[in-house]
Subunit: 164 residues, 2 copies
């Protein structure tokens, strides 16, 4: 187990989370799954932002972190970048963070869902969980109202049949 990396100092994490949260709200307004993410440079410069677009684009690969990563374009070194996401990253997006060596992850909440956050921390990624009540309220309400769509998004097979 590596030592966890440090988050770059002097950043207002709640302010960074605002960007991801706005993305999630936009997704909700579009009829999508309300998860947002943003990739920042170490100095807080926004590199790319995105949101889950499974419903909007009929694209099952468009998880929020992947969408933000894509929006940031080709970067040569991710080690000092920070992935900010409203919800704990699933295994797919955790794999993204590992493969590309993203140094830090800031998570809005992991009450609604737990993914690869412990795995990433064990691998030396800096993981910060803000326990942001806005994020938890938004996600828990969405999941309660749309269990089939939510299960589809995380690859859980059920018989709910309420796929959007």
């Amino acid at each position: 187990m590596s030592s966890p990396a440090d988050l770059p100092s002097g950043l207002d994490l709640s302010h960074l989370m605002d960007t991801a949260y706005r993305q999630a709200r936009s997704g909700l307004e579009e009829g999508g799954i309300p998860i947002g993410a943003a990739l920042f440079a170490a100095d807080g410069t926004l590199l790319g932002e995105g949101r889950n677009r499974r419903v909007q684009q009929d694209d099952p690969s468009a998880h929020a972190e992947t969408d933000a990563f894509r929006a940031a374009g080709r970067q040569r070194d991710y080690s000092s970048t920070i992935m900010v996401t409203t919800l704990a990253p699933c295994w797919y997006c955790s794999g993204l963070i590992r493969q590309f060596g993203i140094g830090s992850v800031v998570i809005g909440e992991n009450r609604s869902f737990q993914g690869g956050e412990d795995w990433l921390a064990d691998l030396g990624v800096s993981v910060t969980i803000l326990d942001d009540e806005r994020c938890t309220a938004m996600m828990s309400k969405f999941i309660a109202a749309n269990p089939g769509l939510w299960n589809e998004d995380i690859g859980v097979v059920d018989d709910e049949g309420d796929r959007a």
Copy 2:
């Protein structure tokens, strides 16, 4: 550790690999990184195929497996599907396979690169490595000629500076 799942029987894996290999060759002809993938149903029906499009689309998230997964559209149950890829899946694409419960992975070769194949097998995914000489020759030649681009694609920071 779960018991590895079984590949659906009666499939010609070399024939399935042909589809992924053709995708990789198309990528090479386009000036891209020659990795191809295809997602099949248990009976061998093609659900989606794709290739690495980092160069072609300036999209760092467009790894071959993700591109094929995207092309297959929204599926409700991946447990009996087969992801066929010319090269061992990186952590990002291994995370995709885990999160969505793709039951089987067929890998052209893992001499040029090792990703999450052992991790997936330990988790109960059926992993088959064909050791396909076409795939190995194509990839090893590409990596030797384009080390910087290849390192960029797998998140390795170097000073080669030959980014395409």
